[in-house]
């Protein structure tokens, strides 16, 4: 059986059509509350892409979503639905914080490898138990990772209130030493003589691209990745081929958790320079949407992450300039995008497939 769709249509055309539908419906909602939808879209796009300021914020958010998106995508290839990126990212934040506060680091490039290890190790550790329970006990990973999200947030609150708290009212750690601050993108570009507004976008953006590339290598160019995909397609076949299901499940969850944990580099080490309460702020859950939309392909994940960055940053600008569009409206628009690209994907797929088949028949 040949695939009914060429690859480009599968990867580009269908998501684009879904997106268009989502924006049409979102536009209707904007009309219902009495605002101009064209103006709203213009504000959203100009706010997120119209200036180096907007682009910086968009890509800052996108960097976070690349990590959580890859986290979900990697587990998905092994047939595991990791909903625990949120909690794993929270633990990653603790890992980064401990590394940054433990040593008076003189240079950021010295601190970075250890921070990556810290973020990855803590995120992976948090994913280990759900992976182990799934592999050995058959406790479904969806259930256990959701539970682990709550345990993670309880743990972080406890640590921030009782152990790591800086003096003052807010439950947050003290500031990291200056030597751990990752360079901001506007500082990096200034070296090359390019001017860019101050934004939270930082060096981690480049790490996110590297992570996406390494994920591609892992999934499609290594033996482990092949085993993961085989296992994800059919467990009995993979076992028959001599793949150890326990090992693959646990390893996939460990890598997935490590990837989620590394979002802390962007937010905690790159921007906030201290650990604050609830710093993940739902990015782990956005990662699920990003992975769904990006078809669990690293390239698609990067594109989807940028789209969500646009929605986050453009949405904020929209709320600034159109006061009648509240932040709840922004959530509605984001939800519509997720609904159309994730859940209602087949709505577009079937007609597009028919159109392609007709064309192919005509050509034949």
């Amino acid at each position: 059986m040949t695939a009914p769709l060429p690859r480009w249509a599968d990867l580009v055309l269908i998501p684009a059509l879904n997106l268009l539908l989502a924006f049409l419906v979102a536009g209707l909602v904007v009309v219902f509350i009495g605002e101009d939808p064209v103006e709203a879209v213009r504000l959203l796009l100009v706010g997120s892409l119209g200036s180096s300021y907007g682009i910086g914020f968009t890509l800052y958010y996108a960097t976070t979503f690349v990590f959580t998106g890859l986290s979900v995508a990697i587990a998905y290839h092994a047939g595991l639905f990791n909903i625990g990126s949120e909690g794993q990212a929270a633990l990653g934040g603790i890992g980064v914080t401990l590394v940054c506060l433990a040593v008076p680091w003189p240079y950021w490039w010295l601190a970075l490898p250890f921070a990556i290890l810290g973020a990855g190790a803590f995120g992976a550790a948090w994913a280990f138990l759900p992976g182990y329970l799934q592999a050995k006990r058959g406790s479904h990973v969806v259930i256990t990772t959701i539970m682990f999200n709550f345990i993670a947030s309880a743990l972080v609150v406890y640590l921030l209130v009782n152990v790591l708290k800086a003096p003052g009212m807010a439950p947050e750690t003290r500031n990291f030493p200056e030597g751990t601050f990752l360079p901001f993108m506007h500082e990096i570009l200034a070296v090359f003589g390019i001017r860019m507004s101050r934004t939270p976008m930082n060096f981690t953006a480049l790490l996110a691209l590297a992570a996406a590339f390494l994920t591609w290598v892992l999934i499609w160019r290594t033996r482990l990745g092949y085993e993961m995909r085989a296992f994800g397609h059919s467990e009995p076949a993979a076992v028959y081929a001599g793949i150890d299901p326990v090992r693959i499940t646990i390893v996939a969850m460990l890598i997935s958790g490590a990837m989620a944990g590394m979002m802390a580099l962007n937010v905690v080490m790159g921007f906030q320079h201290r650990l604050v309460l609830d710093y993940v702020g739902g990015a782990g859950f956005v990662g699920i949407a990003v992975s769904l939309m990006g078809r669990s392909h690293p390239f698609g994940v990067v594109l989807a992450a940028i789209l969500f960055g646009i929605l986050y940053q453009g949405g904020a600008e929209l709320a600034f300039d159109m006061p009648s569009i509240s932040r709840d409206m922004i959530v509605v628009i984001q939800a519509l995008v997720i609904l159309f690209t994730g859940a209602l994907e087949n709505l577009v797929r079937a007609p597009v497939e028919r159109a392609f088949l007709r064309r192919r028949r005509k050509a034949a």
Partner: protein
């Protein structure tokens, strides 16, 4: 002569007032914290203050509701860049963002509520929540027939412990044998907006015998008050006056006058009288207190009112020292 003089003075006053307004034309902006401006509690109090300013002066204000932490500096900078003055932020998480941005815009007046930022152009407003909570603790202990009262907080953080600790001190000072049940709602941001869980926690305390339940949990408290009303016992509201939510079943509300702080900051800039520095609003300044209106006047007996007034006077005079949890992270009673 006198008439002419007073006329001249009046004219002069008007001119200077007009001059001051031209220089300092208030163009306020308010940033609400993650709870959102209609949380019927902390943020909404600030919203009410801003609305009152607009109603009285006809000057509109702009506002923004945060969606995530990265937007703190972004929103502050955005409003300052657009020439808004003053820029008011609500919530204790604003400290470091305010620290950074206030230095970038030395000519803008900033107000930060619930935390302290020491910059020459920042007014920090903090409240003595423990004093107000002490008073509603006194009222709760007197209204309780079972000698058991409850407290439902949002999250186990110092700010909420400050409410809880003041409340317990008030209860124990009135009835040393009283039992206080305490519960926190959750550990994520959802803890501030989870009325169902708030109701469950209140119900469990009521089942254990509590007949007055005080909440300091933002939107979660709506469920606490509902559960108390359903069970036929008393709830106590917080921040805004919540007596109207269930007339006859909300014993009182611990008022935290965020509305006054917001209104006053806008008015001060409007009148050219803005001052930076730390403002501590306690009982003495009427920054905290308890609500008495037509919805709860039948619930508060003259003895209760007398006891609360006495406690208030003693706290103001320094005779009663209510321990502030946030100073040492511990509470002497539980």
């Amino acid at each position: 002569m006198t008439f002419g003089k007073s006329l001249a003075v009046a004219a002069l006053t008007m001119m200077t007032a007009a001059g001051a307004q031209a220089q300092e034309a208030a163009n306020p902006a308010v940033i609400f914290d993650l709870g959102g401006k209609f949380d019927r509690s902390f943020n909404q109090a600030s919203y009410d203050g801003a609305e009152r300013f607009t109603k009285e002066t006809g000057i509109a204000y702009e506002s923004f509701e945060l969606q995530n932490d990265a937007q703190r500096e972004q929103a502050l900078r955005r409003f300052a860049e657009r020439g808004h003055n003053p820029v008011i932020t609500n919530g204790f998480s604003y400290g470091s963002a305010m620290e950074t941005v206030s230095q970038e815009f030395p000519d803008t007046d900033f107000v930060v509520i619930d935390t302290v930022v020491e910059q020459p152009n920042v007014r920090s407003v903090v409240f003595n929540e423990h004093e107000g909570s002490y008073l509603v603790g006194v009222l709760a202990a007197m209204a309780s027939k079972t000698g058991k009262v409850g407290f439902v907080g949002g999250m186990d953080i110092p700010l909420i412990q400050k409410f809880a600790c003041g409340y317990v001190q008030g209860v124990k000072a009135t009835n040393p044998d009283a039992e206080v049940f305490q519960a926190m709602t959750g550990t994520t941001g959802a803890a501030w907006n989870d009325p169902v869980r708030g109701g469950e926690l209140a119900k469990s305390q009521i089942d254990r015998g509590a007949d007055v339940v005080y909440h300091a949990a933002g939107g979660t408290g709506i469920g606490v008050l509902q559960a108390a009303a359903d069970a036929g016992v008393y709830g106590i509201g917080v921040d805004s006056n919540q007596n109207y939510l269930h007339p006859g079943h909300v014993l009182t509300s611990m008022l935290k006058r965020v509305d006054v702080a917001t209104y006053q900051a806008m008015m001060d800039v409007h009148n050219g009288a803005f001052t930076a520095g730390v403002q501590v609003l306690g009982l003495k300044e009427d920054g905290v207190g308890w609500a008495l209106d037509e919805n709860n006047k039948d619930l508060i007996t003259p003895e209760m009112q007398k006891a609360a007034d006495e406690a208030r006077a003693k706290i103001i005079s320094g005779e009663i020292l209510v321990h502030d949890y946030s100073t040492d992270g511990a509470c002497p009673v539980s």
